[in-house]
Amino acid sequence: MRLDQLYQEIILDHYKHPHGRGLRDPFGGEAHHVNPTCGDEVTMRVAVDSAGVLSDISYDGQGCSISQASASVLHELLRGRRADEAARVHEAFAELMGGRGAVEPDEDLLGDGVAFAGVAKYPARVKCALLPWMAFKDAAARAGVAVTSPAA
């Protein structure tokens, strides 16, 4: 059963015990994204300090294990990073998701994000995994920092 490739322990952990969940103040930019095919939603807030560091990333939403775990992992990976570093991680994650399972994930860069390698083989679920990341990108832009990565 390929199912445990998708539902890796790490993903289920993040889903059941999300990190940094809840919307917090202050923030520089906020974005709300919806997955129109399933109705999943996420709101992302990004706070940037004067040194260009993402001092907080807070979020809320409702959705499946993949989208919720992905938001939790994003929070873990990007909070406290400089925007340009965050962009590199963002890009690597988006590349992994678009790779249909053929991309070898970089554990140093992606941390728990490597657990999503299996998701890339489920086209219908890639959108779930990317939902928080796309919302984050918009929120960051609204907070005044650019996190560019190829759109999914």
Binding site: T37, C38, G39, Q62, Q68, Y122
Partner: protein, 430 residues
């Protein structure tokens, strides 16, 4: 019609028409396939149905032997194609007991059929029944599919009319208590689902048509989930329009039906303009053909209509009464089985009366996406999401639902497989 043994544990209504499900299943090539190493259990017929061999063969034969364009040629091939196309119209008319074949308009899907009616209303309409503006009202329900919501929202935006809604009771039935207020002298049209695609509810018609006639409002039924599953007789229903779609009733994609009372169709302006819907075209202006041609601009879905005709033959051969009864028995069985699953909540009627074989549910704290994914891993194909009916989800306070929907080829063993799959889900996400 062959009679099969009535499964143990089911009420023994021996006078009900029955058929042999295994024999029916043998007609559907798709039902043989595997999914993730398991025999596929297809519980997504509300989304789209599988197609029997009989339909595929008719379509194949048409394309290999009679392929030509319709109603434009005097040649033999064109004449044969036209006869096949118009013959299918007659079959569809008979299937829904339409008083005239000319009341059957072919569209691309139910969605287009509903839009066609919505676009007939405007502030410029010649016929007062289709003239609409600020102060006028349109009534739909909270349990509609998006295809019976958005066309009316767009119409209201274009014209300033107001959209009003039937509510849903906690049991998943249409809220009729405010009927007199909801449908009133300002109402131009009432449009709602005969059978809900999420809750499975079979909605009442006579109280609504009676009230609508009282105030001079038109009534349209979205029969997309009805025509495939229960006998539908437009004269009996006493409504003005019904819409349905080929791919949910053993026919191909690419074809839908709008049935309308001839006199009304005849009062409607053209919608899509183009070849075959005209009487005469000149640089100074054009005049239009009578219905149904007026609404069939361009080359129609010829082989798809022919396929739909074959689907109607297939369903009639088995008998719609028998199909409805089969699904009723299955639903009884499935409601019993699902309600016994710990933490499972049914959206819609929990009794197998006044409902069809479409069961939406929530499982504890598990998101439907995850439910569907685990079920798929054991070959059980259900739909998850908002089912193109977000207001229903909002009504029941959930972002999404899991839905199992049955058809004539569904078996109690498949319901068992669903229940076993749900055990798996609870193991992983428990």
């Amino acid at each position: 019609m062959s009679t099969a043994a009535i499964p143990q544990g089911m009420p023994q209504y021996e006078d009900k028409p029955r058929f042999d499900v295994e024999k029916v299943r043998a007609d559907f090539p798709m039902l043989d396939r595997e999914v993730n190493g398991h025999r596929m259990v297809y519980l997504d017929s509300g989304n789209t149905s599988q197609k029997p061999r009989q339909v595929l063969e008719v379509m194949q034969a048409h394309l290999e032997r009679h392929n030509g364009n319709v109603s434009r040629s005097v040649h033999t091939v064109g004449t044969e194609a036209t006869e096949a196309y118009e013959g299918a119209r007659a079959k569809v008319a008979r299937f829904i007991n339409a008083p005239s074949v000319d009341e059957v308009v072919f569209s691309k899907n139910a969605t287009e059929s509903i839009n066609l009616v919505a676009y007939s209303f405007s502030d410029r309409a010649d016929d007062p029944r289709f003239r609409i503006g600020p102060g006028d009202e349109i009534v739909i329900s909270e349990m509609e599919h998006h295809s019976n919501i958005v066309p009316w929202q767009l119409l209201c935006e274009r014209t300033g009319a107001k959209l009003r809604w039937f509510s849903i009771t906690d049991q998943g039935r249409l809220g009729l208590d405010k009927l007199e207020d909801l449908i009133n002298e300002r109402t131009k049209i009432v449009s709602y689902a005969l059978v809900s695609n999420t809750l499975g509810t079979i909605n009442p018609t006579s109280a609504i048509t009676t009230r609508a006639k009282q105030v001079g409002a038109l009534v349209m039924l979205d029969a997309s989930q009805a025509v495939p599953h229960i006998p539908v007789d437009v004269q009996d229903l006493n409504v003005d329009f019904i819409a349905f779609t080929g791919h949910k009733m053993c026919g191909p994609t690419g074809v839908g039906v709008l049935w309308g009372r001839y006199e009304l169709l005849n009062a409607m302006p053209p919608f899509l303009g183009g070849g075959s819907m005209i009487e005469t075209v000149s640089m100074s202006g054009s005049t239009f053909a009578a219905p149904p041609a007026r609404f069939e601009a361009g080359t129609p879905p010829i082989v798809e209509v022919v396929g739909l005709g074959a689907a109607v033959d297939y369903l009639s051969g088995i008998g719609m009464e028998a199909i409805a009864w089969h699904e009723k028995e299955l639903t009884t069985y499935a409601l019993d089985a699902l309600l016994a699953v710990p933490g499972l909540r049914i959206f819609g009627p929990e009794t197998p009366v006044g409902r069809g074989g479409t069961l939406s549910f929530a499982l504890d704290g598990v998101h439907p996406h995850d439910v569907g994914q685990v079920l798929d891993s054991v070959g059980v194909e259900v739909r998850v999401g908002h089912h193109c009916a977000r207001p229903v989800c909002a009504r029941f306070g959930v972002p999404a639902m899991t839905r199992a929907s049955f058809y004539l080829y569904t078996t109690t063993e498949e319901v068992d497989a669903l229940v076993r799959g749900l055990d798996q889900v609870r193991k992983i996400f428990g």
